[in-house]
Symmetry: D2
Subunit: 353 residues, 4 copies
């Protein structure tokens, strides 16, 4: 399997299955001399971890990160930062029922076809548990980019969509509720809806919006590695993501040029920002904003037909403790991947000076 | 500038400015022994080139590709394929008016900020003319993947959206009209609309849908290099793209798991295909389909405020011959990038056997 | 710090300082379904570890490798193999004397200049302890390439050089003595010499010869990534290496073409093998052989001038338990790096079929 | 074929066969705003080109480089620099005799085995003609690194070795004679020897020494991408190279630590420089020096047995105009590859500040 690394100069490589001994990763390219705030890192882990509220999976995983290298006397040394996150809550027997079964809309079937062999416990490598390692790297990238502000929030849960422009939201409210929607009334409605969905044994999708502020002009490489192309890839690499749009997005495709163009102010800022802070793949200093669509979690607590490895259709009901809606826990993952992309481009951009 | 290469094993690197002597590129990693159909390559170039119909830019550029290496007696040798596309129609004087001006929603400003110096003629490297090189590489990738069928078409022009599912369309009609919409009635409506927009001196965005059929199971690398993540990056790297969604896309985020899951047939195919042919980042053998949103072209034939390099707002009107709507010419580019991504994963996948 | 990864498709990334909590790494790209022989892996570790004989450093480090992922029911799954090697014998106080001192011919000074900050304990990241992770990866690469035979041995210790051609040596004798020289008489002489050097508080360099047999034709990529260029880089990346030559090497530069050319047998083998098993960067099926020169270990148990970080020359005597001669323990490292290079090219070569 | 690119941030990709229409390449990552000296580039080309003196091949190839992009008004723009070198002197009929024959110690056989198909004219991609593209990139890298001085020279031709330390040579004499040996007496002896070898219809190997001065402290990445490991790979990737050593090299392996260690001066320079300007893979500010061994050219003007593609041994005599000794023309190639490696590390090193 290739594809377990992300980034060129700020580079993360991850390992680990959901039910192995540990997850972990290596962050290569982090500059030296950064005094790390370990509480801030653990806080990001807590935002992602299971069991944090009534509307997410009730698995108990402490998700404590242990750093093994690259840090000396509290500061980064410039050498690779190795870390592990022990898996303390593996209940392998929970998964014996899927050993020979391919769950619908899961990766079981394609893994078996591609590799001829798989760790079937809890999805193995295809489990979203892998994203814990991304959150560690993202938390460090955030500290490296301390001037840049990255705020993601839940802007839709199933059919419930927050239409308020991000400029009118108070990002300090994002963490005030378990949904991570900064509009408290909408957050309450979403929370009720998720609880209802869970009662039905069902799941629901949603949308995360991310806003990046205080970005210097010049991040991103034109042509293939445009800033928004890398952000898009990074987001689409998160489990369950089905779509990505930035700036005017799909709505922008309906518009005329005379409506869509962002006219300049004398200082190089623009009066409007349908471009979403990026021109020709390069940040222009305006806010970067984008939306990420997540499908509903595939494991539902209802009877469903599945396929076994003998080519037979069999009935199956989800077991274990799963998220009825993934977006509240996806918020820190979206922020983490955005931070990793920006950290990488930040380093690349230094080579032009 | 980094970022001028795409792919790991099937790898394209491009060069060239819109008004330099030539564009071109190098395709590295193409297997040996492929008897190339040069007419098919030139046909793809013709689908992208200016002046092909009344609704695209009327610039005259023959876009003839000259292969310089990697091919012997009509067959690929496995060595890098170098090629150039001479620029025969450079009218540099057309662009003197933008030498000191930053056009709204163009990359002029960010290039100057990032590099401190730019070739201002026709957008230089940020011009979509660069995509001609991608089409060459994509045409070769298509021949390498001869079993896989890639069909893109225009599914929306501004507010005019074709709602017919792709399964009900006749792809052989795509090239029957200048819009490249396989529904002929809708194509005529779109064509009239584009002509009207051009008369207004304006431009309009649109959407390209792409369908990939006959894909073997197993393409794509889990975790960061998921098949759809690379497809997304590849599409977002095309000029003017604002969004990407595959399978159920943004609509899927509104659904419940019980509605969204694709149940299996005994042969491993699925009854529905909301997944869009990809599970866990790996192709599952079903059709891959996705949508790509394009913003309206920024150059309009109307007066607009622009910024000059002294920090003054000045009035400017677009000159030259520009596309009122970019999506008809974007269709072969979308196909080319899809072919490049698939060719790369096809080669990577061979390493597992 | 970049540069902590090696390989394209079979790719190792390592982390860890000599006195941190653990070393470790991630092996990405190992094919699935390989039943691993863990004893064989640990055996390679034992060949590299300190304290294995009277002529190497007497530090006690068990160098037990713990696999955390990528292996299920004893077989590789195709997912990344994460592993750690705990550091159990860190005596940080041993190194307080070098905190502010730059030891001659060590990396202390350049690390401080490059990073502005370093983990000074035992050389930190620049310690050869990092190579333990390479040996893990190499041991797995060897198992993946089970048909290919890789044998390295000590061919010189200081001025004592074994002139016997490798064809006349019995590789099964390599492990019969602590020097790892297959000529037992020479091994005894070398052992005595190393003991004498140690008594003097001094160190001495040496040469490792490596022979790779049963290599299929076709490994290696022409032009920049020639097989011998990658082997050379891999060897030169090992601590203390000063030179690399393959086939006829430096001696070959003195020869005439009429003497140097390897004439063919009808089956494609050659009568002589001055080419060293590689033509144009590609393996030709003949034995690959090369030599790697190691400088003497820089830490000596004699008084020497060193530089402190105030720009003062100070006197220093080496402390701790160091190798008087590095080559006996370098043998498994040379083999490991050779195996990693071959594994990578083996996977790349599959993409041509 | 992979492996046609070199470098991470300053990255060259080359294409072209010896008898195709043109060679060429793309330089990606060159910073913007460098006013290029085109005469200096062409001068490097002239140092490499055939026909430059009586002791090299008498083929007539002007080797004029045409830049197609990345340069505007004489300065680099930061966009990729595409260039071609037309092949004006292809005499394909010269090579009909090798169409079905594998010349001894050439790459003909392995190419056929690996790719199943090859451009047999003049060695195709395996011809050293490919290095012309490297010289273009190296000439630009040199201009980017204008403070760093890179001087290579011929230090041995066959058994004739110049033993004078580089410190005692006058580098301004290198170009004063066709051998490129700065000791004029030795140069004359070498020249006579090469002429004698040519008369015999034979060829001879040699050694190029390279000295890099005025290097800042800090270039090179520890662990796998050590500065000397990349220099080694770069040199070993040049056609006909069999060995690389830096600093004390193979001789250093015979020494004791007490002799080999380079003691510091208070300013961080060292009294001796057996390290060759590199510690732990990172430049320490002292001179970098290394030797590169070249085998004798395989094509000789004498009868030799060769193998044909039916498995028959046949007699063959070299035709065409070949170099009796490759090292005089290799000097600019060694310098070019050194410059490319340093340019890349120079850019990477900027990311730490």
């Amino acid at each position: 399997m290739a594809g377990n690394s992300y980034g060129t100069l700020f580079r993360i490589t991850t390992f680990g299955e959901s039910h192995g001994e540990a997850l972990g990763g290596i962050i290569d390219g982090c500059p030296s001399g950064i005094a790390l705030d370990f509480d801030a890192i653990q806080l990001e882990m807590s935002r992602r971890k299971p069991g944090q509220s009534a509307i997410v999976t009730q698995r108990k995983e402490p998700d404590d990160v242990q750093f093994l290298s690259g840090i000396f006397e509290g500061k980064t040394t410039g050498t690779p930062i190795g870390f592990i996150i022990p898996n303390t809550n593996q209940k392998s027997d929970d998964y014996s029922h899927i050993k020979d079964n391919y769950r619908p809309s899961h990766a079981d079937y394609v893994y078996d076809q591609k590799y001829g062999f798989r760790d079937y416990r809890g999805g193995g490598r295809s489990s979203a548990r892998e994203t814990a390692s991304r959150v560690v790297a993202g938390a460090i990238a955030k500290q490296m980019l301390s001037d840049i502000k990255i705020n993601a929030y839940v802007s839709a849960v199933g059919p419930l969509a927050l239409e308020t422009p991000y400029q009118d939201l108070d990002f300090s409210k994002i963490e005030s509720n378990p949904v991570r929607c900064p509009d408290e009334a909408m957050a309450a409605t979403m929370e009720d809806y998720i609880k209802q969905i869970r009662k039905e044994g069902d799941t629901v999708g949603g949308v995360v919006t991310c806003v990046i502020q205080n970005v210097p002009v010049g991040l991103g490489e034109p042509v293939f590695d445009k800033l928004h192309a890398e952000l898009g890839k990074a987001m689409l690499s998160i489990n369950a993501v089905k779509g990505f749009e930035f700036g005017s997005g799909f709505e922008g495709s309906k518009m005329k040029g005379s409506q869509h163009n962002d006219l300049y102010n004398p200082d190089g800022t623009t009066k409007t920002n349908l471009s979403g802070g990026i021109q020709g793949g390069i940040s222009n200093g305006m806010d970067i904003y984008f939306k990420v669509a997540f499908k509903p979690v595939a494991t539902i607590m209802q009877k469903q037909d599945s396929l076994n490895n003998k080519g037979e259709i069999t009935e199956m009901t989800g077991k274990g403790r799963h998220d009825p809606c993934v977006v509240p826990r996806a918020v820190p993952i979206v922020e983490a991947m955005a931070a990793i992309v920006l950290a990488d481009f930040h380093l690349i951009n230094k080579t032009y000076k």
